[in-house]
């Protein structure tokens, strides 16, 4: 097995807009992660299956019981209704778990970042690099899921092409906020809080049933949550039901992402360079 990545790592980096987002140094951290995952490609591939299983079980299986759903005046089969929701929630799950567990491990246990900072790299490079990497992974999964959706016929509109950047904005928001949250964690016990947030979001985001089935106050709360924003955005694009609120959803996610990134950078600086 070759010890050097050859041109592949460099080529991947030229495709991603790291240069657009920030320093080239952030790309070094992405390189490092690519190097680690080159040996773990099986693990990488296996991450694709979970949302696919959900699609089969909830979309197809449960769809045999539900049949159809009314959404914004249209009547769609349950699987078509659920699929964009699953795309959103898998973007959320993938990004959050990546940006919490792995980063906590590198930050507190293996102290990998300590070594990185003894070089010309800065905490901002680390935050941006990890975010970019998380985005790259999540986008790969989202693209694969989108292709599956199209293959099964759950894509109803040409606007669904925008689902990919929309899914990326969901990943961006959750990766950044997840990373920021991780910098506040003090032990593995705190990770229970992560599932305490993710599970309610997952269940009540309009993925499984339209918001209208829930009580008014639940609806009001859910509308403020980030996953709902993502689900609504993706579903609107996928079904071709467009309105200006979709832009609002996108802006919500991007702002959340930027705030998360700023907080994460500040916290890393405080933690790593006291």
């Amino acid at each position: 097995m070759s010890a050097t990545p050859g041109p592949s790592a460099g080529a991947t980096l030229r495709i991603t807009p790291v240069g657009l987002l920030g320093t080239r140094r952030a790309g070094r951290l992405v390189e490092r992660n690519i190097r680690v995952y080159r040996r773990l490609w099986m693990y990488f591939v296996s991450g694709f299956f979970e949302p696919f299983f959900y699609l089969l079980s909830i979309g197809v299986g449960l769809g045999k019981l539900v049949h159809t759903v009314h959404v914004a005046g249209a009547v769609v089969p349950y699987a078509t209704f659920v699929a964009p929701g699953l795309l959103a929630s898998s973007a959320m799950n993938g990004s959050t778990l990546d940006s919490t567990f792995n980063i906590y491990f590198k930050l507190k246990i293996a102290k990998t970042y300590d070594a990185v900072l003894s070089t010309p790299m800065a905490p901002a490079d680390i935050a941006l690099g990890e975010l970019t990497w998380s985005l790259m992974r999540a986008t790969t999964y989202s693209l694969a899921f989108l292709v599956v959706m199209a293959g099964f016929g759950y894509v109803r509109s040409p606007w669904a092409v925008l689902c990919l950047p929309a899914a990326m904005s969901i990943s961006f928001a959750f990766s950044a906020v997840g990373m920021a949250g991780t910098t506040y964690m003090r032990s593995w016990q705190d990770f229970d809080k992560v599932s305490l947030v993710l599970i309610p979001l997952f269940l009540f985001s309009g993925t499984f049933a339209p918001l209208s089935v829930y009580a008014g106050w639940i609806q009001a709360v859910v509308r403020c949550t980030p996953l709902y924003q993502g689900v609504a955005l993706l579903r609107g694009l996928d079904l071709g039901i467009l309105s200006w609120t979709l832009v609002g959803h996108a802006i919500y996610l991007l702002v959340a992402g930027f705030v998360g990134l700023v907080v994460a950078t500040r916290r890393m600086t405080t933690l790593l360079l006291p």
Binding site: R28, R32, A115
Partner: protein
């Protein structure tokens, strides 16, 4: 390997007489706690400078400031002529750090650790590849190049950390307790490698709480305790200044030795009472031992040895180096 000028990185520093590190009144505070309390020192190019002191003396805090990983709280510090507050990244690009804990990347192989680290310096991959091979051979790790880091022994991990610190061909190498926790064989191997680096002109700053390490590796050293320098100078010079040539160690088992001290007045220059032995500082150990016997004192055991930096530290601070 680390040739005269070819390896000094892409930024050639003129071979000047300017010291590489200059600190004046250097201070580090963590809230109310003062870890480093106004120290002054200069480190010249090509020398091996040591910080000798027990745990908690402020050595690591000092190293972190020199390696631009911790902002200074007071005083001035110039590394390679630059101010760490403004040119931190640039300075770090020209120095190598071997931290107290290995901080190796456990998810990568030995060779990949060097490749990735070199990329953090933005070095071209071909350059890193070549240097990595030389460094791994230098530290005798080339046959483990494709192994994961986790199963390596403590000594090997340390050598890998040292190899890693040299990937950028630094002008200044900072080593924080390089052989703590290693077995004697591993320690000697590390010392040997550091000595060779010194011969090739790499300036080194070393912290340690081992007196033998300080005596072996350092041209000059500062004795540090409680955030301050208690003394500074070459090892032998410090021993000459602060201790006698020889020491007579007497052990009395569980009996209390203090009553005999007044009887030894005039025979020895100084005495120290430790929990398990009595130290008598004199220029003629054997002669003093004879006197002790003539006084009718019968210790359980007696040892005559030459003074070490441990004795210097004991004299300056009243405590031993290793607690």
């Amino acid at each position: 390997m680390h040739g005269s000028g070819a390896w000094r990185g892409t930024e050639q520093v003129a071979e000047s007489a300017e010291p590489l590190v200059v600190a004046k009144g250097l201070t580090k505070r963590f809230g109310d706690f003062v870890a480093v309390d106004g120290i002054d020192f200069e480190i010249a190019r090509g020398e091996s400078y040591g910080l000798l002191g027990p745990n908690g003396a402020g050595k690591t805090s000092t190293m972190r400031m020199i390696s631009c990983m911790s902002p200074i709280s007071g005083g001035t510090l110039r590394v390679l002529g630059l101010d760490p507050a403004q040119h931190g990244a640039q300075i770090r690009g020209r120095i190598g750090l071997v931290p107290q804990e290995d901080t190796l990347d456990l998810e990568l192989t030995v060779l990949d650790n060097l490749m990735v680290y070199g990329r953090y310096f933005d070095l071209p991959r071909s350059v890193i590849r070549e240097r990595a091979r030389q460094l791994l051979e230098f530290t005798q790790l080339w046959d483990r190049a494709h192994d994961k880091v986790d199963p390596l022994s403590g000594g090997m991990k340390r050598r890998l950390t040292i190899a890693r610190s040299l990937v950028s061909a630094p002008e200044l190498l900072i080593l924080d307790e390089p052989t703590t926790g290693l077995d004697p064989q591993a320690r000697h191997l590390v010392w040997d490698r550091l000595y060779r680096l010194k011969q090739q002109g790499v300036t080194q700053v070393i912290t340690t709480h081992y007196m033998d390490e300080a005596e072996q590796l350092c041209d000059r050293l500062a004795v540090m305790d409680g955030g301050r320098f208690a003394a500074e100078g070459a090892p032998q010079e410090l021993i000459r200044r602060y201790s006698t040539r020889e020491v007579l160690e007497l052990r009395f088992g569980t009996a209390d030795p203090t009553p005999i001290i007044p009887q030894l007045d005039g025979l020895v220059q100084r005495t120290e009472v430790l929990p398990d032995r009595l130290l008598l500082y004199t220029d003629d150990g054997e002669g003093t031992l004879g006197h002790v016997h003539r006084l009718g004192v019968t210790p359980d055991s007696a040892l005559v040895r030459r003074s070490t930096l441990e004795d210097v530290f004991l004299r300056l601070t009243g405590r031993s180096l290793v607690d």
